[in-house]
């Protein structure tokens, strides 16, 4: 297994003394779509921004195809396409202007590929960015990232501000593009149900630590829900009906959904940080 994205003891502390990442170790293999899920302030954005070269690690290291994104930024960026949390388009420029700009900024930018994606979605290329809906702006950001033809795509919560229909359309386009192009994709989100259908792998991040890293299929197959407390339970949390349920490894009272797997690990992180405190 060749890792395209790596983190070794990666820690990041911001100026106010807040640790966003607490020394994580992670290797992401090539291919497929990986969901990076976790609550707000779990460190998802910080992790992605470290790989893009926007954040310098306080400790440890990060690598993109074996390249240090801080010291070898140019070479590392050549392998990356990035979609930021909120679409950061130039208000005064049209969609086509953005594609022109991308051609100037990135040698080898595939304008035709990006245009094709936008045309399929019926996004008017002559329209000003400020006149596009949130969903359309996210699609333009994705088209720009896809146009780079980079082997790795990093998407930093692009779904957060979209309505359910726009979210579904975005994921559909992303899945198609990734299946066609074969780019390794890391999609961060705090909405588990959105990524469940699209992603092959799952990373659960909480309080700056990797809590779970597995394939989606394996994560679901290897966990279950117990309706009573067990010594080997990972954590307890509230079910939608208010009752208390426990996430366990192996057999339980019923199979766990992906949402429950994620919730269980997030609850375990909360419990351990409370105990530590």
């Amino acid at each position: 297994m060749t890792a395209v994205l790596e983190a070794r003891g990666l820690a990041k502390r911001y100026r106010r003394g807040v640790w966003a990442l607490g020394g994580i170790d992670l290797e992401l293999p090539a291919g497929g779509i990986t969901a990076l899920v976790g609550p707000n302030a779990a460190g998802k954005s910080t992790l992605l921004k470290t790989w893009v070269g926007f954040e310098k690690p306080t400790r440890g290291s990060a690598a993109v195809m074996g390249l240090d994104p801080w010291r070898q930024r140019s070479q590392a960026l050549a392998n990356l396409g990035y979609v930021p949390q909120s679409p950061a388009l130039y208000d005064g420029l049209s969609v086509d202007d953005h594609l022109d700009l991308a051609v100037q900024l990135r040698p080898g930018f595939d304008r035709a590929h990006a245009r094709e994606r936008l045309d399929q979605l019926g996004i008017p290329r002559g329209a000003g960015a400020r006149n596009l809906s949130g969903g359309q702006q996210a699609q333009v950001s994705l088209a720009l990232a896809l146009g780079t033809r980079a082997p790795i795509l990093l998407l930093d919560e692009p779904l957060a501000s979209l309505d359910p229909l726009a979210r579904r359309e975005f994921l559909h386009v992303l899945t198609d593009a990734v299946r066609d192009g074969g780019a390794t994709t890391l999609l961060s989100s705090h909405i588990v149900t959105d990524v469940e259908q699209s992603c092959d792998r799952l990373i659960v991040l909480g309080v700056g630590q990797v809590l779970l890293h597995d394939t989606v299929a394996n994560a679901m197959a290897s966990h279950a829900i117990s309706t009573s407390d067990r010594a080997d339970a990972i954590a307890a949390f509230a079910a939608p009906d208010g009752s208390r349920i426990w996430l366990v490894r192996g057999a339980g009272d019923r199979p766990a959904t992906l949402d429950e797997v994620v919730l269980g690990y997030l609850a375990s992180a909360r419990t351990s940080s409370a105990v530590a405190a």
Binding site: S74, A78, A88, Y90
Partner: protein
Amino acid sequence: MTAALTWGRLGFRQQRWELILVALGVAATAIAMLWFASQLNGLRAASPGCVPPAAAEFGSCEAALNAYSQIEGLADNMLLLSFGAPFGIGVLLGAPLIAREIDAGTAQLAWSIGRSRVSWLLRRIAFIALFVVVALGVLAVTSEILAAALAPERNLGSDFAWFGRRGWLIVARGLGALMLGMLVGALIGRVLPAILAAALVMALVFTGLSFAQDRWQEGLTETHRMNYSEAGSYLDSGALVINTGLELASGEVVTWSELNERGLEVSYVDEQGRLFASEQDMQDGNLLGYDVEFAIPGARYAGVVAAVGAASVGVGLLALGLTAVVVGRRRPV
């Protein structure tokens, strides 16, 4: 060509209102300067015996002289605008250049698609820098035309009159100010605070440069004995007088403040510019020294302008280099 259009379009769209404001301000100032120059030239042509005032015959020239002096005063004030314009434009166009990209989050897009932030920075600034050169170039030319109309009898190519308020020094200062403003904007990353901070930094840096320029110019001065009995008592009419002082009888040259520090006083000056400590000394011919000026000859005007302009551009290039470092290391939001 396509690349230039793309970056030009981005530069214009990002700073549309500032660019329009600067273009209108420069156009209005340039038109006003040309109008004042034509008025001054017109008055001179219409009343050759009265204007300029030195040629006036008393009594018959009152109306022409009044009109001339009124326009001359306003024209002189117009040249103050060309002194302040480079700094104002530097703040207005330089500070938001990078700050707006960071503020609006668009730096994330540019810095993740582009592989080199330095290359992005250089292309990003090119259009605005070109605009500043053209806009201030217009002011440089029109300010020279106005100065020539104010003093047609002087050769302004070797004359320190309106030094820093005309000619290409305006453009050089504008480029320096633009890049300094850009550095402040890149550091702060918020448009309005960057504009305010850039104004403050600009005042501090260019005041510091002005002090350094004064010290440097002192080294260029020539000492010239004043003679009040002659019409041309100064080194030359285009000279830049930096200081005045005394040449003591011993041959030592001192400034007035140095003389005071020594407890010496000058009580009498005769028409030849000779100085005496007391009336008795003057009667006895007991000479203290000569009244002198320390001035840079007008012939050195072009050299001084080139050096001061180079210093301004040098500060700008230093600021550009620091901006590249800041842009290379900072977060895009």
